[in-house]
Symmetry: C2
């Protein structure tokens, strides 16, 4: 699916739809109703059938929710979406509520002082979410009660749920059969005395069964539910039209069921049932009648995060392929210097996004981009989650920076890379900031550390040089990445919020940044994988240490590097990285791009 | 009290004492009894009356405990004390148990399979400790039960508890009156609905009431108990002979009681009573009958840790005074080069410790050393908690490293400093290791970071260069330090175990190290204080940042610095640090020491 740049949403539809919703709320005898942007699988991308928030309010951002009361309605959005929400939402009908500054519970207390019942669809909210909200409302006259989805009742032409084909994922790329994975998870269940675990995260199910799907954009997963039992067998709940192509591929230990059979299957579970509070719909434990629930992490998360050798091999190959496309793109962009600022043959952010996607598609192996490309020129680069639209589309100008954060989905791996590019000779201030960001990126790339540390323990390394200059960035340093799965994957993170231990095989992004509002944005991102650190001469052989293998090889913009700010070790790292980039990609790019690559990767 | 070097302890007394203890255990009908090294105040140093573990087993180390059963007895000591324990304990009577490798609960389960009651003195174990142990014994036939202290019953000549004078601490040095501090703590109690808080940590009580004591070595605190009420008044339980000199100094809101009145006072408490589980004797909540207990941190810990401007001023002055004594010491040591390795006028570790204490005493302001000096030459330097004894005392030899970790208690502040010194021309390998340790020390010294981070978030900065070489150290990077109080103070730490946010006014040590077993030890330690970071030109003014002020000014051994390993920023830092050391201490040292100081602090 090609990236589009139109802002959909229909603010004028908000008031009449709100009015019919309030009618059914009154019929149900409830004072409020919650409309999250989430679907039952808590995914980052939702299907058209799940765009309830957009249908009701007009707001199409990827995060947010609405709370509808009889007389008031609030659309809760975080800082990055406030402007967009103001443009998309009719503010006579909805108040834009700054979130998380204003918490839902506090807003409800203020707007519903007389109390009453606030309804929610138990399939769209997690156990953790409802528990937190319920706790915050303790002692108030406001009750929370699950109810049918009232939007679905009043949305006449609601699209059908997606019915994308489910396909097998080659065992050669997965590095482990589904039977092996199921045995691994079943063993973990037995160790904690669980009879079964319920899985509602599509990438957990896709990983466990070595399948992929095509229900939503950007993430090749099927919408499905599964129950894995302590004997390693699985009940899979998925629309039969989706699995026609699978044949008997899943084997006798995976029993297929209609999605409609899921509630009854939950009701029939006995013994201890493991559920992940952070992702499990509130409806699931409500339906478990005979079994007793034990909350713990989705048992697929950790084994999925620790990639097999085959997955790492595939990912390396995907990165070289993607890197070659990036080099073609950077070479093309470099050739557009004449266009900068010219009005007759100007180049815009949308042109850049389109060209980049074209280079990736030219590999003939791109399944999809792995997320909507972030391409921000000049001040647009400083908007951290910027997505260009026809309204915001900026013409590239000489002297500005261009931030491009993009990635591809390939059968053998998922990529995610950010490069910041000088459009013509850059200002020295921009170079100083770029260099500090790069120093942080290098500090993480070079790090070795004793086994047992978490992302939190390393995060400061990426920020130290920025901090010294009184600067910082308001996002984590890195997120986990799947293999031909979600580009954002837990549990690993490089973040001061993450106590999750780093383990060999985990893939992470390494993406420090710096954003000067109204001026420019800088981010440099490579993907890296945790591996056992090789012994160092003179090192203490008894200390088991880990380090990162760099997966991404694409030139860094040498024009933005203030060489005199670098230490010798940093300079050596950059030269070695560039030499390796040249070596790995030289034979994979076109002749002209190769000439550019030689220059772009020359020693500093 | 001068440091001594004799290892006391009487292994031959162990078996007969064990036998009488077992007799009273049998009379009490218990199968086991626990003998911790702790006193009721959970202090690092205990009074002779509290040396129950040494009396029974012969073991005099500063950490450890014994578990006595009818037929078996174990002395639990950690790695640093195993050798000492083997020398001090009769191993026909006691097994030396490696702790924490072997947990007490597991040992009890193995040694007491038939079950029975294990007794403990509820005044000598914290609530947290007993809770943890009880949890680990759940489902076994072993019961834990509080009982009178059986050692005290069979120890005929047990010393009297200490009766050191309590003296007022000048408000000018504290920077806050006791009334202000009590109002501050009382306000905190009211905010959480506590009617009172029980205080059993002597440094909390000393801080709160602006008093100091002289009951134990190295830490100028009184053994006492206190209850602070939500109205700011305090009941203080302390032996009357200790407070004779105070007069009415504590004011009408501090009511004095005999220590014997403490249990009844606990019984009379009503409403919500705040107790710190980590330090509170198990007996205290047992005695609270009418009140209800709420566990939370000792309310004095955080305000005590965030020093006032006056305390910081005093600490700076104490460090310059102590730094001058250190310079005299280093100058003296430098003049002993001829003695190295000579047998006729050799210099030993004990000579060094004695000389150093002499230089500190020459300031005429030393109240005590702040802990037993660690002075390890050559391989002894690699023993992290090494304390020289007549048995281990090593002659200093040219070519070896000498690690000296020491500090002083002055009325205006507590110091703690480690320097590693080359005895004659060092080996290049030692210089490389020293430089990596120094690079970590400098990274912490120079750090700026956004407000809200904890010690855990910064710890990696101190280790990065060691990690790169496959090296590390097995202790935290820094501990909190009091002002004329304990040299080890919570809650702040620079450690991967510490989630406590760093706040302005907190004093910490900054002491990375590296230890090569059998060869040498390196540690470099300055004290630093958290402060608001000044604005940086070009920095983001909206980001509130913190940084460290260096308190310790004493030369680093230039002979150990491998200049070519340093970055320009590190080199600049060292030169500036040395210039500042020269400037601050030049006028405070003798003429000959000044000449040495000039050379020792010359630019690299």
């Amino acid at each position: 699916m090609l990236q589009t740049f139109d802002v959909t949403g229909a603010p004028e539809q908000g008031p009449p739809r709100l009015s019919v919703l309030r009618d059914v709320m009154a019929q149900e005898g409830i004072k409020g109703f919650l409309v999250p942007r989430a679907d039952v699988h808590q995914g980052e991308y939702v299907a058209p059938a799940d765009e309830r928030l957009a249908w009701l309010t007009g707001f199409t951002g990827s995060a947010g929710f609405a709370a509808i009361l009889s007389a008031r309605a609030g659309v809760f959005v975080d800082g990055r979406y406030r402007l967009q929400a103001r443009n998309q939402v009719d503010d006579t009908a909805f108040a834009i509520v700054p979130w998380p500054d204003t918490k839902l519970a506090d807003w409800l207390k203020a707007e519903l002082p007389e109390g009453g019942t606030v309804g929610f669809d138990p399939w769209l909210h997690t156990v953790g979410e409802i528990e937190t909200l319920r706790k915050a409302l303790t002692g108030t006259p406001i009750d929370l009660a699950d109810c049918p989805n009232l939007i679905d009742r009043v949305w006449p032409d609601r699209p059908a749920p997606p019915a994308g084909d489910v396909t097998p994922y080659p065992e050669a790329l997965a590095g482990r059969s589904s039977a092996e994975k199921r045995a691994l998870v079943a063993e973990a269940l037995r160790q904690t005395g669980d009879e079964s675990a319920v899985l509602t995260l599509p990438d957990s199910i896709a990983w466990l069964l070595n399948i992929r799907g095509s229900d939503i954009a950007r993430i090749p997963v099927p919408h499905a539910f599964a129950i894995i039992h302590a004997d390693g067998s699985v009940d899979l709940f998925v629309a039969p039209e989706k699995t026609a192509g699978l044949g008997d591929g899943l084997g006798p230990d995976v029993r297929l069921h209609e999605p409609g059979a899921f509630p009854a299957a939950l009701g029939a579970l006995t013994g201890q049932v493991r559920l992940d509070k952070q992702s499990m719909p509130y409806a699931v434990p409500m339906l478990i009648e005979a079994g007793n629930v034990r909350y713990d992490r989705d048992p697929c998360l950790l084994p999925k995060a620790c990639k097999t050798a085959a997955e790492l091999d595939g990912t390396r190959e995907a990165h070289l392929r993607d890197g070659a496309a990036m080099v073609e793109f950077l070479h093309w962009l470099n050739g557009q210097a004449d266009a900068l600022g010219h009005t007759d043959h100007a180049l815009s952010e949308i042109d850049v996004v389109t060209a980049l996607e074209g280079f990736r598609r030219s590999t003939n192996q791109l399944r999809d981009i792995s997320f909507e490309t972030i391409c921000g020129a000049g001040p647009n680069g400083a908007i951290v989650h910027y997505r260009v639209t026809r309204e915001t589309n900026r013409i590239l100008r000489a002297g500005e920076l261009l931030l491009v954060d993009s990635g591809g989905q390939y059968l053998d791996g998922t990529t995610d890379i950010t490069r910041t590019i000088a459009l013509g000779p850059p200002e020295s201030e921009a170079c100083a900031c770029y260099t500090r960001v790069l120093q942080g990126m290098i500090a993480i790339s070079r790090a070795r550390w004793p086994v047992g540390l978490a992302g939190r323990d390393l995060d400061a390394l990426a920020r130290y040089e920025l901090w010294q200059a009184g600067l910082d960035y308001d996002h984590g340093t890195g997120h986990g990445v799947g293999t031909y799965l979600s580009v954002h994957e837990g549990p690993q993170r490089l973040s001061r919020q993450s106590g999750e231990k780093l383990r060999p095989g985990m893939i992470l992004s390494n993406e420090p940044g710096y954003y000067r509002e109204g001026a420019f944005g800088i981010r440099i991102e490579n993907l890296i994988a945790v591996e056992e650190a090789p012994a160092v001469p003179g090192g203490d052989a008894q200390r088991r240490m880990l380090c990162f293998e760099t997966l991404t090889y694409v030139p860094l913009d040498r024009r933005l590097i203030a060489v005199d700010m670098l230490t010798q070790a940093q300079r050596t790292w950059i030269d070695a990285y560039h030499a390796e980039t040249r070596r790995r990609l030289g034979d994979r790019v076109s002749a002209n791009a190769r000439i550019w690559l030689e220059t772009a990767t020359a020693p500093l």
